[in-house]
């Protein structure tokens, strides 16, 4: 059994809109183990990035409740200094857009050197340069000595993302949070970056939280998957179970809206309605119910909880038992589970 690296307990992140707090992340509990990729999936506005930013304590004015335990240590009570020590060292983050994540006025070498300097002051200048070059080499950049002296604008998007990853892994983090690491990249570059992340996981024994909206990336990378909707986790399962026997209506709807080889001659599934905004969200009852109006109201729980329906497979609300797509016959509405 791999060791638990990060334990998130009842995390609630709220933002203030006109003198009232609204929870963007609402009572989320998750664990991340060593040598594991936990994917967090959901559409824009579901709170997945807000969750990542809460873990890294990057929100300025948000109200954060609940516990975040890093190797058993509650980091929510850390002072700013302690957080700075942890961040970029044991826990680090790969940001979505490699263009804005790098400082345009600093050489690549200095940007990597900065993280080393802040956390591992013991390096001499020469050692630091060597370490930075070896990191560039590690993330697969050809001619690292040359790139060391370059500025971000001289590099392509894929190269920049590699630099961002080099910075994130500079201090051998134990938890790596990757927030849409390949969204801004072309397909062939994306597959190279994903291979690189996989390699890092194996070599460093790190726990990776992969935040993405791309279900293909999840199917290829993740060990476990958490699906988020409107600030809540609606389903958590092993990747094979989630794609093989998806249960929650939202998970099933998402999966059937992705175009694939089989969908060529048929229509894609469309989720009715829109993702509610933070302010307009109905917080009572099943939050997905307004998107599946053809399902009888009575099948939803009054206060939906996560149920363990098979070992390590959790689903929120009992409505999954009675869910079917509108164009499906009611009899063969459920796959897989008995």
């Amino acid at each position: 059994m791999n060791e638990k690296l990060l334990e998130i307990k009842n995390l609630k992140t709220s933002f203030r809109i006109e003198d009232q707090y609204y929870a963007a992340v609402d009572d989320v509990s998750l664990t991340v183990n060593e040598n594991e990729v936990l994917a967090i999936v959901g559409e824009s506005g579901c709170g997945k990035s807000a969750l990542a930013f809460s873990l890294m304590r990057l929100h300025n004015r948000a109200k954060i409740e609940g516990d975040i335990l890093f190797k058993g240590d509650d980091v929510t009570n850390y002072s700013a200094g302690q957080v700075n020590k942890l961040r970029g060292n044991e826990m680090s983050m790969i940001f979505q857009d490699p263009l804005t994540a790098l400082n345009p006025l600093m050489k690549i070498g200095d940007q990597i050197g900065e993280v080393l300097l802040l956390h591992k002051g013991k390096f001499s200048n020469l050692n630091r340069k060597q370490k930075a070059i070896s990191l560039l080499d590690k993330v697969g950049i050809a001619r690292p000595e040359h790139v060391y002296e370059q500025f971000p604008h001289e590099l392509s998007g894929g190269m920049r993302q590699r630099v961002v990853i080099a910075i994130a892994i500079a201090n051998d983090p134990e938890v790596l949070i990757a927030d849409e690491p390949t969204t801004a990249l072309d397909a062939t570059i994306q597959s190279q970056i994903l291979d690189l992340l996989n390699e890092l996981k194996e070599n460093m024994n790190a726990g990776i939280i992969l935040i993405t909206h791309d279900l293909g990336v999840v199917a290829e990378m993740a060990d476990r998957v958490a699906v988020m909707y409107a600030g809540q986790i609606v389903e958590v399962a092993d990747v094979h179970a989630l794609f093989g026997m998806p249960q929650h209506p939202y998970t099933r709807s998402l999966l059937s809206s992705v175009p694939n080889a089989e969908s060529v001659d048929s229509k894609l599934h469309v989720i009715q309605g829109i993702v509610p905004s933070l302010k307009n969200l109905t917080r009572e009852g099943c939050r997905f119910r307004s998107r599946i109006p053809w399902i009888d109201e009575s099948v939803h729980e009054k206060s939906p909880e996560l149920h363990e329906i098979s070992p390590n497979h959790f689903v929120r609300c009992t409505c999954y038992k009675n869910f079917y797509f509108p164009d499906e016959k009611k009899e063969d509405k459920r796959h897989g589970i008995s």
């Binding site: 559409e43 072309d186 397909a187 062939t188 794609f243 809206s257 992705v258 694939n260 989720i271």
Partner: protein, 310 residues
Amino acid sequence: MAFLEVEDLKVHFPVKGGIFGRTVDHIRAVDGVSFSLEKGKTYGLVGESGSGKTTTGRAIIGLNRATAGKITYNGHDITNLKKADLDVRKEIQMIFQDPYSSLNPKKRVLDIIAEPLRNYEKLSKQEEKKRVLELLELVGLSSESITKYPHQFSGGQRQRIGVARAIALKPKLIIADEPVSALDVSVQAQVLNFMEDIQEALGLTYIFIGHDLGVIRHMCDDIGIMYKGRYVEEGTVDDIFDNPQHIYTKRLVAAIPDINPENRREQIYYRQEVQKEYEQSYDDYFGDDGLAYGLKPISETHLVALPEKG
């Protein structure tokens, strides 16, 4: 006679340099592209950023000037049309990539959709409003939308407004430049379904520009793969996905993440094989200047850029 025929299209952008700002070089964004498409079909233009796919689309509609080559639409030569020939241009419209920046935030939906009508057709206010309402109904937006502003809509709804504007003049050919890449999967599904519906209802022909091969496979009948301004391969959907021949196409197809985690191992293995082949045989597929060779037919529908020696 093909509905649209593009022959040896070249779009070169000058690079200015020196103290007098003279043209010192050219960027060959599109460098000899030829294809034709049939009425009612969807043609996919695929490539990575910088491959020239968007520039090709923009040259067809006249937003970029063609340096050389010929574009024939329905028997008319429409290469670098002058203002006087706008009648033909009415029949070709464009849907843009980003529904957040392609709609003027200061204009009401009525004015956005009516703009092409005001340019081409002299309608009274009532007639104009009637037409806009019809268009809104066609794209599935309520009639109250007419007085709203773009920020009051979601991404998918905004893309529908963009579509309503594009079909206002009853075009026959629509160039859709990555119409769904800024959207979430469920909204993407909505827009794709809807584009298929109006294609059938209005008999539209699409040029679908994209980089997401899953979406391309779902939408298109024929596909052209571009690399550095040239075609590397062209064929039907089955030709490209089941029997890719050019190493670049193979890399693209191998890079599509598989939605089934059970295939993970094979997918990684396949990708490594393709990568190995790419490294070993790069010189066989690209000339000394790193560009693709000319297209050679290998079946009736399938063309591949292979070197002269074969």
